[in-house]
Symmetry: C2
Subunit: 450 residues, 2 copies
């Protein structure tokens, strides 16, 4: 099975059928993106109406390409796709991606065409991704076989999306975020390669630490549950399922080929197979970032803050999430009292409010003492920007503590702002997640509990 997909995920030669340099076209987007990885693999352009692209021959058909082809990317009008797929089968390519739309997603008019290309691919035993998809990206090997706006940074999140539009927006957003991707795969109609195959692939990818999925509907429920149940004990899967509500399901039914089933069925299936169910797009990536960077831990949370109010907001959410705020042990309280970092009026509680004038030494001592308490497994460190607050220095202390306590989860809460954004970027470059709202941080903390 591994060999079956190698041509898709690590091709040595790629042919683009429907290559063009016409500005704004899907074909031109693909040319540019594939071109960015030209030092890693051989590229061939196929378009009977054009002689040259990027200074290289454009072949009239894939059958004229003078070498074997691992991956064929197909971006031609829907009517022509069956002919092209047939030629790819004759050429014995290793895998196909059909980005073209105009198949099952447009209803009865497109279904026979989809059945035809799937039939051809399966008879030839060539895996086919799509149709009606954005394509596939693997940043760390400079493979961008998609018409996405640019290549996001490499990292540990495997993102699998039924919607190409949504994947595009996620990629655009990644330009402002600090997480990266092991792979991004849009599977569109999922006519041949299914979500189940892609989960299997993401699981085997050593680069991927967490699998994030955007899902509209699912065909192979039982298979899905089997593979998810196998993966989730060692690699988390988070799914954002559109169509939670009846209204949403009706909206989904009108735009995808697959039926959006009743929400309860999905929720039950996710729960039984250990899948985390995100409610919004923000949650999907809030949680993915935490699960990608942090260890999974047992319950037991401490909150450290220089602002009482925001500590209370965090406590409210910890309670909503069913998390346990560890009681400070006598030993911990004694250590805090003995330290000369803390003002006399401080109350030694969890949340631990080290007061508005806390400097980095106070943050550092408090973190060290809290992390030395055995049953504190997650430490949420909150900073509000006060006169004395040196956010960058505090972030450096957090990174030091995370290195000293690798089995514990450190999470930062600092509102992004003019003064704090550079420090937040620095922190996240060291793989400690930051959240702009205490509620988002505690929701993510909950997902680390195993």
């Amino acid at each position: 099975m591994k060999n079956k997909f190698a041509a898709l995920t690590n091709p040595k030669t790629v042919a683009l059928i429907g290559a063009t340099e016409r500005p704004g076209s899907v074909g031109a987007g693909l040319v540019e993106n594939l071109w960015s990885g030209r030092e890693k693999r051989r590229l061939f352009w196929v378009n009977p109406n054009i002689d040259q692209i990027k200074g290289a021959t454009s072949y009239p058909s894939i059958l004229k390409v003078p070498q074997s082809v691992d991956l064929a990317v197909i971006a031609v009008p829907a009517e022509v796709v069956p002919v092209v797929v047939n030629e790819c089968c004759q050429k014995k390519v290793g895998a196909m991606i059909v980005v073209s739309a105009g198949f099952a997603e447009i209803g009865a008019a497109g279904q026979p065409r989809q059945d035809e290309i799937v039939g051809l691919a399966r008879r030839a035993e060539i895996p086919l991704l799509g149709p009606n998809c954005l394509g596939l990206l693997r940043p760390q090997i400079e493979l961008n076989a998609s018409f996405a706006p640019f290549t996001p940074p490499a990292g540990g999140i495997a993102f699998i999306s039924q919607s190409g539009a949504l994947m595009n927006s996620v990629i655009d957003r990644s330009g402002l975020e600090n997480y990266g991707f092991s792979s991004l795969i849009s599977y569109g109609n999922g006519a041949d390669i299914s979500l189940v195959d892609l989960l299997w692939l993401a699981d085997r990818d050593q680069q991927s630490k967490v699998i994030a999925v955007y899902l509209e509907g699912l065909d192979h429920g039982r298979e899905f549950m089997e593979v998810a149940r196998e993966i989730t004990p060692h690699k988390p899967i988070i799914i954002l399922k559109a169509g939670r509500t009846e209204l949403g399901q009706r909206a989904a039914a009108s735009h995808t080929a697959s039926l959006a089933g009743a929400d309860q069925v999905y929720r039950a299936a996710f729960k039984q197979s250990g899948v985390l169910s995100a409610g919004t797009l923000e949650e999907l990536f809030d949680w993915a970032k935490a699960l990608c960077w942090l260890p999974r831990v047992k319950d037991g949370v401490a909150i450290l803050t220089n602002g009482g109010g925001i500590g209370v907001l965090a406590t409210d959410e910890a309670s909503d999430q069913g998390l346990t705020l560890s009681n400070l042990t006598e030993a911990t309280a004694a250590r805090l009292k003995e330290s000369d970092c803390f003002p006399r009026e401080m109350v030694f509680n969890n949340p631990l409010d080290i007061i508005g004038d806390a400097d980095t030494e106070r943050y550092r001592s408090a973190m060290e003492i809290l992390l030395n308490q055995k049953d504190i497994n997650t430490l949420v460190v909150i900073q509000t920007k006060q006169t004395m607050t040196d956010i960058q220095a505090n972030m450096e202390a957090i990174v030091d503590m995370a290195k000293k306590h690798p089995a514990k989860a450190l999470i930062s809460v600092c509102l992004p702002g003019r003064l704090s954004q550079p420090a937040i970027n620095w922190l996240e470059s060291h793989h400690i997640p930051n959240y702009s709202d205490p509620a988002r941080a505690l929701k993510a903390a909950r997902r680390l509990i195993y």
Copy 2:
């Protein structure tokens, strides 16, 4: 009553007691912030240990200031505050802000001192803000009587915060956001000037379009409800109340003077007085932005999207929020069918999915036709960044439509990203709110319904 607070909110002369240029100190923060408004009002520095500050005399006591003083800002150690307040009363200043900490918030040790200064102020009939607060800012008149890190932009949000730390973070964040403030007031222990007074003030401020409050606990429940009930029919009040949960209430009790009461009591009081209850910091400002910029409307929502999946996510949230997705009328459907902007395979539904290759003309026509349907009062316009998507041009179309239909609420959903952020900033400079997640947009849309 108006005259009572004029010296606080629009002082012609300000004296800072505890002025200093020592880097990193509260006094120095206040000097810099007051200094930024030096062309608008006369400033006096008071500190017996210093001769000059910013090239001007530093007086040994406020009694030596050779002019009457509207506003006295007091930033001296807690033990000295009663003496200074007493002098301010002798000087007959118009109002006082006590930023110093060390009063009721530290418990029994600080309560008598707080009672003493309140007694002095009340006998002299001088309003006192604080103690234990960040101060007061009114950006449009360049008044920054606080030790906040900088002055945020002017705008229509009146922000009232029991916590100074939280206000600092909100100010830092505002540097990355596109909304502005009519005033920001931290009232700390609220020993004299209470939330009720500040609501009353914000209501009378013509610049303020919406009142956003961060609250930990409330002393004057009945008065609060009376004033809120008077204000909310014409000016929205949104409150984020910390201590929603029992755990949170315990955390709150340990750090403020006021008792955090049972959540149900607060919720009931808010509901009865028309106050919107935000659950998180993000909601507080998501909603404030919408209520500041958009008209309040009747129910009836349409969703326009170039990505089916994200349209489904929006529909799910609309359903959760109890919003009505208007059925497209026959006239609307006919107009959409007659227009030559739309591809044949399009389905004319709400959400209206104008498909991934939608250009600005298609967005513009769809918006025009939807907004002409009478019962569509809110239009949520979603853009995913696809090859054909010209986000800036689409944003311009949204602004045009908002001008043509001033009684309707237009809301944008576009994930902030490398390519879309400049267009989002442009849109919000024209007072159309953008949200990074469809769920956040629909939650805000719900709050516009009256």
